[in-house]
């Protein structure tokens, strides 16, 4: 049995380990209504991509440490100076200078509210969240943009105060390590692996 594909970096080069693809044979597609005539063929394929987070890596690493990192343009001559970005933007979209990284965990814990939301009954293939998925878009005081995430506990409504929770047990290092619960949720009601 092959292991899942894993990668580390050494000397600035990716070092893949384990199995990155699995071989499955092609099979014919035939027409059941027409004498099983040949129409085509299946092309199975199972691949693992190798993806760099680049300048956003600090955001994804911080989630497992229960910190929510945003960015801000501090460039003195920029018209957008002081604009705070969550989602994290590496560069200011105005002056293109590298933004400063700021920790907004405490702002999130005290000011996060739901801007809009939806409840998703279906998901695409390969999705890891349990359905129904409650998407929420979150406003923070002093932040200029609106983060998309998902609500793990409680019912969404406009203006509902929510608190961030972080996957500290076996983090995935993806955006799914960040979730939210309605204000007043007890620690014991958090999904497995998550903490405030």
């Amino acid at each position: 049995m092959s292991t899942f594909g894993q990668v580390f970096v050494k000397n600035n080069k990716y070092k893949p380990q384990g199995s990155f693809h699995h071989l499955t044979p092609n099979t014919p597609i035939r027409d059941a209504d027409n004498d099983w005539k040949l129409l085509g063929v299946t092309n199975p394929r199972d691949m693992t991509y190798i993806h760099s987070y680049g300048g956003e890596a600090v955001f994804f690493e911080s989630l497992s440490k229960k910190r929510l990192m945003a960015t801000r343009c501090d460039s003195p001559d920029c018209d957008s100076r002081g604009t705070v970005y969550m989602p994290f933007r590496i560069h200011c979209p105005d002056c293109l200078c590298r933004n400063s990284i700021i920790d907004i965990t405490d702002t999130a814990k005290t000011t996060a509210t739901i801007h809009t939301f939806m409840v998703c009954e279906r998901s695409g293939a390969f999705n890891l969240l349990e359905k129904p998925i409650k998407f929420i878009n979150i406003e923070f005081k002093g932040v200029d943009t609106i983060l998309m995430s998902y609500l793990a506990v409680g019912e969404p409504r406009f203006g509902q105060k929510v608190l961030p929770v972080f996957r500290t047990l076996e983090p995935t290092y993806t955006i799914l390590d960040l979730s939210w619960v309605v204000d007043g949720t007890a620690e014991s009601d958090l999904p497995q692996g998550f903490s405030f």
């Binding site: 597609i29 027409d31 129409l39 085509g40 092309n43 993806h51 987070y53 956003e56 994804f60 018209d79 957008s80 604009t83 970005y85 989602p87 933007r89 979209p93 801007h115 809009t116 939301f117 939806m118 409840v119 998703c120 009954e121 279906r122 998901s123 695409g124 293939a125 390969f126 999705n127 890891l128 969240l129 129904p132 998925i133 998407f135 878009n137 200029d144 943009t145 609106i146 983060l147 998309m148 995430s149 998902y150 406009f158 993806t174 955006i175 799914l176």
Partner: protein, 475 residues
Amino acid sequence: MIRFSKQQLKIPQLQRPVYLVTAGQSKFDRAIVDRRTEELCIDAFTMAASLLNLSPAELKRYIHSCYYGHFADHFGDQLLGEAVIHDRLGLDPLGNVGIKTGGATGGSALWEGLKAVASGYSDCVLVMGWERMDEVPTDEGNFLISCAADKDWESPLGHIYTGYYAVMAQRYWQIFGKSEDSFRRTLAEIAVKHHRYARFNPFAQAPMDITVDDVLNSPVVAYPLRALDCCLMSVGAACAVLCDENTADALTAGSPNKPLRMWVAAGSHTLRPADRLDMKIPLLPNEEEGQYDDLAERFPGGDRYPGFTGFLAARMAAYYGYGMSGITDPSEDLDVVELHDAFTISDVQTYEDIGIRPYGYGRDYVESGDCYHTNPYTNEPGKLPSNLSGGLIGCMHAVGATGIMQTFEIATHIWNRWEELHGDQALWHRFDRQKPADWTSLQVTGARRGLAISHAGVGSHVTATILMDPDHLIR
């Protein structure tokens, strides 16, 4: 805060007029099990030639460069698919280029073809778009579409594009729809209308005779959006041929097609709605300074623009396109439109973005009956009929072809050939579809000018394609 420079607000200029002379399309369906993509492209091209009473070989002699719209390489599992289609159409060694801007790919391909003619690079170009979305099961298709959201910040949340629109639907419904059931029913009415018009279109994939309650009882995909609020997943191809004036006259000499003056303009906005900073609403020619100052008083919560309720990209495409073509009020100046109804909610949002109704009042375009071929309340012709093809909800969304299908539809109205091309019994038969006993011509009587909106992502790219009878230009 987005601020525009004078240079950025310049109305685009074409070096010379550009004309649409013909267009064509294949059958559209969820799956086409016995035809390769190139066969569908050849169907579309052959139809375009036949509308000019030319053979494909005769039409090809005029073509000088080609613009191919195909969005999703991973759906078709073929990189450089443009080279395959170009070869199979027998157009080598002419220059060609692939264009991909998500759902707006068809509109963007027209934009590129238009600029090639306007600049003088080519006197005649082919614009062809296609998509093949049947090579994976539907849930994997939804996964592949969700890759057109931000892969680190959005796609893992459900891997379903409907969800990214549902949050807009929720916000719009509560703020501008005032949480009324009547607003939700108006959204459903759009789906009823588009599936119904699809019944009269032999190319269309999803003809249905349904009611508002059927839409409201269809399965929830991402609340508040239900299955019947959503566009289709499709296979098919569509093409258009664009020319300068002399070539247009030569190509149309033996045909009922009149060369149509054409303009295409484009706008954009962030891939993630999350990143959209609050800004002042840019105005269109039929709006007045200050008219939105009290929007948040009329619709509490409606103070953020474009927020999750408007599409700046559509507004900018309309701003540039109206400026180029002289349109000052779309409801007065246009006779027929095809809008990008990816979801019922985005159809309503677009009415406002392009100035058919002011922000906050999009629902009135449906509730007044203006958007119908025949206004159901007055039995008079609709003031500005929309999506008589059935749109993305009823006809198709073969992504790379969609913007071109819309343009084909608008052109058939201005050519006064809608009835001939959609009523042809032989075509219904060839597509193995039953022409309904109550088939009705949706030809817009006396149509002179039309507009098609092509839209990507959650409003990342939008194009506005405008067609006019050259004897009825605005200026």
